[in-house]
Symmetry: C3
Subunit: 346 residues, 3 copies
């Protein structure tokens, strides 16, 4: 069961160019494009004439033209031209999805349009502040339910095992991290301190640490699909109470998970460096360090999904490090139950 009354990322803003983009979201085939004013739009990717996918068509002044028989639809999904006839039937239209472009992301609302409130979209101004947070992004298709990726980010003990060869390093340090979780109205937030620990090689490369460091991470989960991560380090013993202000080495990761189907998703992520801001190579280096890690997550989550497809959750056992993950799941389940009840009450 997927939550439909939610803002999901449909695309990175720079994915919408001069060709329509096809992407399945919450099970619906969607075509994304910009109208001639540059505004992002999202329509059902199926012409109302003969079911041809609209993404095979082309962008025209008035909207998108079907590539089969030339019908044209505007950004609201209304058919505004049918070659060879003047009268356009009332029912010649395709579904449109509320669309908002913000901070380099194109967000779609897949549920009841009357409930689409843009103020509920997660804020991430760092995407729009290259002077301080130069960044680079990607989108990975993953053959696993999007919640498996959220699970993954809610339990960082996996770093020491799954990412042992990349950013993980010392499993003990991750497991023993000093962890503090706060519940928020829209999700939860947790902070992990690994004081006086050996910096991973990538930190040394990025910031030139000479000895041990105080390392801190903050993760904020915003239901149902976004995780905002801040990570920083300072020479051991120099950490302050306000590390996001004071740490000389820090970066931010944005993680947005969009369900494609019940068993697949898109992982939109970015890395923004808050150090060496004038050095494009710092951004590239950070991206290069992180990208392979997420491919390790993808591989694991896809393997996990295959087992879940076959056996479901039977006989699974929760462990101590599942606490945040389970809280997150309960929140999303509550949202789904709420959505279902609202539908049933209509």
């Amino acid at each position: 069961m997927l939550l439909r009354n939610a803002w999901y990322i449909g695309a990175w803003a720079d994915e919408l160019g001069d060709k329509p983009l096809s992407r399945r979201i919450c099970g619906d085939p969607v075509v994304l494009f910009r109208d001639s004013s540059g505004r992002a739009a999202a329509l059902a990717d199926r012409c109302c004439h003969r079911a041809a996918p609209l993404h095979l068509g082309k962008l025209v002044e008035a909207g998108i033209q079907c590539g089969y028989h030339g019908l044209v639809f505007d950004a609201t999904g209304r058919c505004i031209a049918i070659p060879g006839q003047k009268l356009i039937p009332q029912d010649a239209q395709v579904r449109s999805y509320p669309t908002v472009e913000r901070d380099q992301l194109v967000w779609l609302w897949m549920g009841d349009p009357s409930l689409a409130d843009p103020t509920k979209i997660v804020d991430f101004p760092y995407h729009s502040d290259p002077a301080h947070w130069r960044n680079k992004h990607a989108v990975y298709p993953i053959k696993g339910n999007y919640m498996l990726m959220v699970d993954n980010l809610m339990d960082l003990t996996h770093l020491g095992y799954l990412h042992a060869r990349t950013v993980g390093g010392n499993p003990g340090a991750h497991v023993a991290a000093d962890m503090k979780t706060t519940r928020t109205p829209t999700g939860l937030k947790f902070t992990r301190w690994m004081r006086n620990s050996l910096p991973p090689p990538s930190y040394v490369k990025a910031a030139g640490f000479q000895g041990r460091v105080d390392r801190c991470q903050e993760f904020e989960f915003v239901a149902p699909n976004t995780i905002l991560q801040w990570t920083g380090a300072a020479d051991a013993g120099t950490a302050t109470d306000n590390p996001q202000h004071d740490f000389r080495f820090q970066f931010r990761l944005f993680h947005g998970l969009t369900p494609e189907t019940e068993t697949s998703c898109f992982y939109f992520w970015s890395a923004a460096n808050g150090y060496r801001q004038n050095d494009p190579e710092a951004t590239e280096q950070l991206y290069r360090e992180i990208a392979p890690t997420f491919l390790e997550d993808k591989e694991m989550v896809e393997a996990q999904q295959r087992r879940l497809d076959e056996f479901g959750e039977q006989d699974l056992v929760d462990i101590a490090s599942d606490a945040n993950r389970m809280h997150m799941r309960r929140m999303v389940e509550r949202l789904i139950v709420g959505e279902q009840s609202a539908v049933a009450a209509k």
Copy 2:
């Protein structure tokens, strides 16, 4: 639902060589071959012993020999040899399909053999008249219901959009073509005139037109699966009432659609040039112009099928240019209903 009491093309005559040919038709796996007298035959592609596909076997004097344990079947499907035993059980046989070879095509009857009437096979003598209609052919497998390809050929407004980069060119001209449709006992026929229009580049290349042309096309649909096309052009203003006789530039296309399954088909097509008949390069050129167009149709129809698989026909809207297509569909549906009633009445 597929019509079974109909002649469908199983293969081009030249596809039947020294090896058996395997092809699924109307859902049935069929093996096609020639017996030692050169006569085309079609059997169920499954040995009655252990279900091995017969197409993995080889052609022998008496028919086809299973490649697993050596059973031999003649062109009627009767088992005539079982290695190691003299007595051949009565029930040792496989289904055979009535087969007729005509005009370079091998036609199969997939329904009740007692109804198989070869006089019902569409005539296309141009395949057998290389002096006047030099031709070249192909077969394209398409992952779409065969009717989607018939639809495609019944509504030529798609030329201006789907084939914009190839033969289409000017969409307005196609949409505004002067069109006349006649119903026939076995289908329908329509003629399209585009007078005083710009010839497509391929026409100019083929026939050296210097200016505008009168362009004419005739399409005959013969239910349920054949479309016979004649196309010609003459210098603008010189068109007569008998263009098939008088036009110096003309060609014929044969389109035969054979259901493989409910959602896939084989597209047998040929192109025959009625100009520069002594010049093999004219035929090659015509074929080269047309082949990519049909691959565009294939791509679109396959995409359409995927949407139909998922959503069916719900919310689709008919438009003016669908008239011939809809008449064609009604004819085929009437044939299917007739076939079903006959079966029920038995």
Copy 3:
């Protein structure tokens, strides 16, 4: 329906190295590995925490460590370490399968562990006697029910057709072979004599025969999944009553079939030469002769399975050479019925 109370081959002993091996057996995903003492073990390939496949983990001193969050399982499937917590819940465990390593093979018991009796494992000492039976082995995945491969080996008339281009040669000789079958408590045994026959080219190459030979084969089927084959030849007229003792040219093949699913299996096979025992090239040559033959079987059986998937056994006709095959099938069916009754009686 697969028999579960049986020993099936999970792997060749040399497949278990420093990485876990993943293989589906009787429908169950299994991970095979050696514990730190070198003992082979087999567990359900799904961590009891979050369903991650264990084969993506790594081997550690105490057993196998999940690659996602680091849980460790010993060879009995008990979880013995959970990072970040001391108490290990009782139900933190995965299924283990009784495992026995013998004669280069790792055998698994997929059914009720209390019935797993290692004395029931087929003996094949030739794998462990390289001085007399130098050998080489392989495992082929086959997309067909394992019984189709047993069928194949129970009716050797197929050699003359399916293997005509490899070891088959003369179909008549195979069909007319002098054949004697004996039923055994665990299966059946048959001997085939082809006296005064032309040796296949591979025999000549291996043993330098100058003229005709007396050729003999013995096949023993041990239900439900093993076939032990001895093959030999001597110069025509010199055959004795004890060919396994006297023939100067002889080899043994081991055939073990393990169900992967109802419609796929693993074919574990080896070839051991009982001639030129000091010459490694003799073993290689024998292996090279046989390997392509088994790929022909694989191709045929996979094609057969596709037809059976679609049409089942309907309209199939038994022939004379099916006698051993049918006896074998009845034996296995009896075992399955017995297993089902025992389960029902519980």
